[in-house]
Symmetry: C2
Subunit: 519 residues, 2 copies
Amino acid sequence: NRHGAILLVNCDSEQFYHKTPDSDRKHITAVSDLNDMSPMVLRTKGPAQLPPGYKLTLHISRGDAEKVRVFRSTVFFPDFVKRYPLVLDDQVLSQEVPYQEETKLYVEGLRFPDKDFDGLLKIHLSLLEPISEDFPETPIYTDTVVFRVAPWIMTPNTLEPVEVFVCSTKDNYPFLKGITGLAKKNNYKLKVCYEYKNRGDRWMQDELEFGYIDSPHQHFPVVLDSPRDGDLKDFPYDELLGKDFGYVTRVPEDEEVNSLDSFGNLEVSPPVTVNGKHYPLGRIIIGVAFPTSAHGRNMTKVVQDFLWAQKVQEPVALFSDWLYVGHVDEFMTFVPAPGPKGFRLLLASPDAGYKLFKGLQNDGHGKAKIFDGLGPDEEISVDEILDNERLKSENDYVQNCIDWNRDVLKRELGLDDDDIIDLPILFKLMEDNRAVAYYPDMVNMIVLGKELGIPKPFGPKVDGRCALEAEMTSLMEALGLNCTYIDNFASYHKLLGEVHCGSNVRRKPFELRWWNLEM
Amino acid sequence: NRHGAILLVNCDSEQFYHKTPDSDRKHITAVSDLNDMSPMVLRTKGPAQLPPGYKLTLHISRGDAEKVRVFRSTVFFPDFVKRYPLVLDDQVLSQEVPYQEETKLYVEGLRFPDKDFDGLLKIHLSLLEPISEDFPETPIYTDTVVFRVAPWIMTPNTLEPVEVFVCSTKDNYPFLKGITGLAKKNNYKLKVCYEYKNRGDRWMQDELEFGYIDSPHQHFPVVLDSPRDGDLKDFPYDELLGKDFGYVTRVPEDEEVNSLDSFGNLEVSPPVTVNGKHYPLGRIIIGVAFPTSAHGRNMTKVVQDFLWAQKVQEPVALFSDWLYVGHVDEFMTFVPAPGPKGFRLLLASPDAGYKLFKGLQNDGHGKAKIFDGLGPDEEISVDEILDNERLKSENDYVQNCIDWNRDVLKRELGLDDDDIIDLPILFKLMEDNRAVAYYPDMVNMIVLGKELGIPKPFGPKVDGRCALEAEMTSLMEALGLNCTYIDNFASYHKLLGEVHCGSNVRRKPFELRWWNLEM
């Protein structure tokens, strides 16, 4: 709980490349690798030489040995590889180090904090005294340094984008064009994952989550690879892991992975303060089964454990199992906004949807059609929607599910009703009474600074203009945000996803450094 | 971190008797069992009846379900067993409860805090609203209560004894008589474990550790059964577990048990304050391998994890692997004493031993013999001891090992040199350079209030009086303590143990209640 030394998990490609061909790596092979490690200096004060038989020994416990390695810097070897010999690892828990005025060492983290690891590592130095040749030396002085492994940190929608990720498929040209335009408009980098790599899996949001690790000497992005493992499964390791781009994953050993394990079901709030408690890096948000249900779907335990163990963005569990796909991004998102909190929570709202449609009917637009222009099979009038009692009771049920989450979000993020904007979105129920969006789900959007890329809802037209877009644009423009509606009807909505599900954004890290948090 | 409700692990015999014949217990079978549970009252304020279809549901998470059960009290059944039906357990995570002004429930803890369980349990109540018969009810309000499971607490030598435990064997009559006399003198209860049960295993200290659990409504002793499992292994379960006497054990699944797993290697200090941090229930003390050694013996991980997880007596790890048997009680104990700290730490000290023997030689008693009267094979003179250079260097090594522990104890218990008394005890090395006491190890004593039962050292006699006893008695009488020397030479010392190893003491709980600690 005090200030101390920080260690990064050396999870970028230098680490991984070494591991694969040569798991017994005994040296540092690249100078860039040194940058990922924390320097540790051993300084001695005393006689020019130790008396005969006395020794300095560096040592770690067996428990810590699988989480840390220590290398030593020597000046004797012109060969770079020999210049940084391994001192401690899981095979060598204790090793003599030279007695000299100053010894430079490099410490490498190997494991992120997790359920069984609080992130603290101890490295000990002992001075050993000889009794006689017959007996073991005994320690007469021990000093200890503690390192804390830097947590994996997620980046909310309010942070500035760096790079936008999207898949190219045979059938998604309008979508790809829409996203590309938005990224180019703001000069964000764009990375397209092509079909040879995505094999038709377009759900870029679901396969991975971008985050970063940070220390005073170094920081770099780290992708958390979802255990979902669709056809995009090799993308994070093959295409993202790189020099100064880290990789971490958690895969359950004896649990089935389900749709709630996709990372459309893993989001993070902007910074919040709740009853005086500050969360300056926000709070992670995941969706799980409703607690009164014994047989619901849940996010797998190993991923939940990992997320909770990072500690700096204490997670909030919402109820998302009422949705057929089951992802929190189907009913909520955050957008930057003026005001002291700096953001608004957007929630899908069947009530707001029915209010809008009733207003249209009252104003004489009952014959206007949603899905206008998508063909006679799809089109359906405002009157028909409002006459459908079954649809109404399904949406009452959905509203109840969202309201329960709304209460949790208000309580756990310290929000007032003024901080929340209800978007007119209807749902319908599928098998098992689980819900999907009735028309393209506008809350499932991509947020790029002040630019929003929103699923084009294909709502009823009034005077040639989509009434849903008009309402949405009006709500967002009041916050200074610009709306771009992207047609994802055939290529995403019909496959039960939308813009957010089909994209991903790497963002700048927080300016606030995590080690300044009270933990 | 705030005041809240407390739960006991229902680990006494009512629980165990039910578990063995009927692991699917669905009712409370004895009124005494209710006393071990925490009452939980559900009070409602609202209309006389809920509107049709609305329900109150009590629920727990899957993770908590293996650690807690909830029973409900009904007045309808004259049959006691039916009067307390099970509401929640690991099979039923959610169940409707009646809507009435007041419902009385009983909550039962099933698991002690451990590495994977911080001791906090949540029980939720939700009000469910029906939408229509076709859909699941949705929760519209949820309330939650948090319980903390009471930790297992050890009792230091400074607490008043209640009951003394010792084994009877074919060959230990003088020892048994000595302990019996001490217990009777103070009117402590005495429990003798006879040979049919101990099967020759006399190490009553090593098979078990006494502790207790405490809550505002109930407290009782709980024995921690060591994974040592010598021939005494059935004694804790068969003879100690009882009505209001709990039982807990931890056995490693895939690790070999060794001598450091005996509970002569598990002690607890009196209350201490260290750099302003209070440990009003003392600190647990265990012995492990020295950290610079990669291949030493250690206390098994599952027991260490259990001890650390209790949190209220944060453990200190000493270095005991230098001893052949490897128990901390071979070189240290605590005795009550006047002064602000209320105790002294006694340490075995080869240096103090050599000082005493040299003093005898200087005073002309070099021909006096230790082991006097135990036969010519055993007897050896002060001069011979002092002439043995090998023995001296062995003891220098032992002193270094103890000094390292002395430094740890001073630092971790906040002790000064004045708080520590060095007892004149010599060691010798066996195979692997591991140490055993050269003559009966006086520090390995039983502490019963102000009465000390000390291994009779058979030291050199001066004017007919044992010089070791004289020194020991003089040191202890200065603290107001009475020494009784018990002959355990043949029946314990020769088998590498002493008085403490062969006895055990159940003590009164602390008056301070653990939930008043800052955690």
